[in-house]
């Protein structure tokens, strides 16, 4: 259980380990983008960890990274063509960031640091925890940026009409600002917990 929970808070991939910054900052202009990106990462991370944990004993040490990359790339490509076939609109709005999951350091990082060294069950729990942790990070960032940047959540207008959207929030600079504030808040919470 600890393997699952640590990804959600204590070793959160976004706010604690600062992994996967490229898709995080790029796609979180809206909630729906954040959710679909998060789910794609959960899927790829789960199955990559599954395969890596299963074959860890037969993979020679020298080529392990190459093998992991091939496995990850396979699952990412499957997700990519599945989205193109079944959900063309989401595939369009995520654009090149789905294929870029291949080089998302969370996935290679978890395969190398965890799945290749632990049992299948623990690897799967770790993958789910990290994937969902990444997803809620994306979701939170997407929600804040969409709310202030366009005044909507999931396309539904939330802010009163007089609210003038802050364009900077959906520009790349806004992503860095929000991320910075969120990490500061996380650190504050962590500190106050330690004091107790």
């Amino acid at each position: 259980m600890k393997d699952f929970l640590k990804g959600l808070w204590k070793e959160h991939p976004v706010f604690r380990q600062l992994l996967g910054m490229c898709p995080l900052l790029a796609v979180t202009t809206s909630v729906i983008n954040g959710i679909s990106m998060g789910l794609a990462v959960v899927f790829v991370l789960f199955f990559s960890s599954l395969v890596v944990a299963l074959i860890k004993k037969i993979v020679p040490h020298q080529v392990r990274i190459a093998v992991y990359t091939v496995i990850i790339a396979t699952f990412v490509t499957i997700v990519d063509i599945f989205l193109k076939a079944q959900l063309p609109d989401i595939s369009r709005s995520l654009g090149p960031y789905i294929p870029l999951i291949i080089v998302n350091c969370i996935i290679l990082g978890r395969c190398e640091a965890f799945a290749s060294k632990h049992t299948l069950k623990r690897s799967l729990l770790d993958a789910l925890g990290m994937g969902l942790g990444f997803s809620w990070g994306l979701l939170l960032l997407g929600a804040i940026r969409e709310l202030f940047g366009t005044g909507t959540i999931l396309g539904v207008t939330i802010m009163p009409k007089i609210y003038n959207p802050l364009i900077i929030m959906i520009l790349p600079a806004g992503a860095f600002l929000v991320l910075g504030f969120l990490i500061a808040i996380m650190n504050k919470i962590e500190q106050s917990q330690e004091k107790k």
């Binding site: 983008n33 396979t74 193109k84 076939a85 709005s93 366009t150």
Partner: protein, 184 residues
């Protein structure tokens, strides 16, 4: 020596297995993806020129020109795919123009990879609707201020490059179409 064979063997077999899965996934979704692209064009034509009942395809500038006519065989206009470089990549626009090439019936963005939240707004109604009944006897102008003429469109705030790209792609393709029809 034995070690080397193991390294090569494992890596090769992993690649072969992955390739097998990928080709399987590709073959099951290929038809659907092509169908999506085709229905997208047909749907877009149906929205932009609802009276269309028959479509005739002719070759045009390395692509296809769709001649749209209604059930009395009267020519309603032409539809074509115009494509070109946007801010981040290719933009493909399905355009419907009237028979005299003086006015657009409307456009539909079929493919684009513009920045989400900014350039990607070119696919939204607010931007696309500006092209309905737009005068194209002269070049389309993309401006940042308020509109004063009927061949102007307003650029999206924060995405001037993407907005200009749409106007330029259309201008080029319309000029080519005009040339082709004149030479006929």
């Amino acid at each position: 020596m034995k070690e080397m064979f193991k390294i090569v063997g494992v890596l090769t077999s992993v690649c072969i297995i992955c390739a097998f899965f990928l080709s399987f996934a590709n073959s099951t979704t290929k038809v659907k993806i092509e169908l999506n692209a085709k229905t997208k064009i047909e749907n877009a034509i149906a929205i932009l020129a609802p009276a269309t009942s028959s479509i005739k395809k002719v070759a045009f500038d390395g692509g296809t020109l769709y001649q749209l006519s209604n059930n009395q065989k009267k020519l309603l206009g032409f539809a074509f795919l115009a494509q070109g470089q946007g801010y981040q990549g290719l933009i493909k626009i399905l355009t419907v123009i009237n028979p005299s090439l003086g006015k657009l019936e409307g456009i539909e963005i079929v493919e684009s990879v513009e920045t989400p939240g900014l350039g990607a707004k070119i696919i939204e109604e607010g931007f696309k609707s500006q092209f309905q009944n737009l005068n194209v006897s002269d070049k389309i102008l993309c401006i940042k201020d308020d509109l004063s003429q009927n061949n102007q469109i307003k650029a999206i705030t924060g995405a001037t490059v993407s907005s200009m790209a749409v106007a330029n792609i259309l201008n080029k393709k319309i000029a080519k179409l005009r040339e082709m029809l004149r030479s006929k």
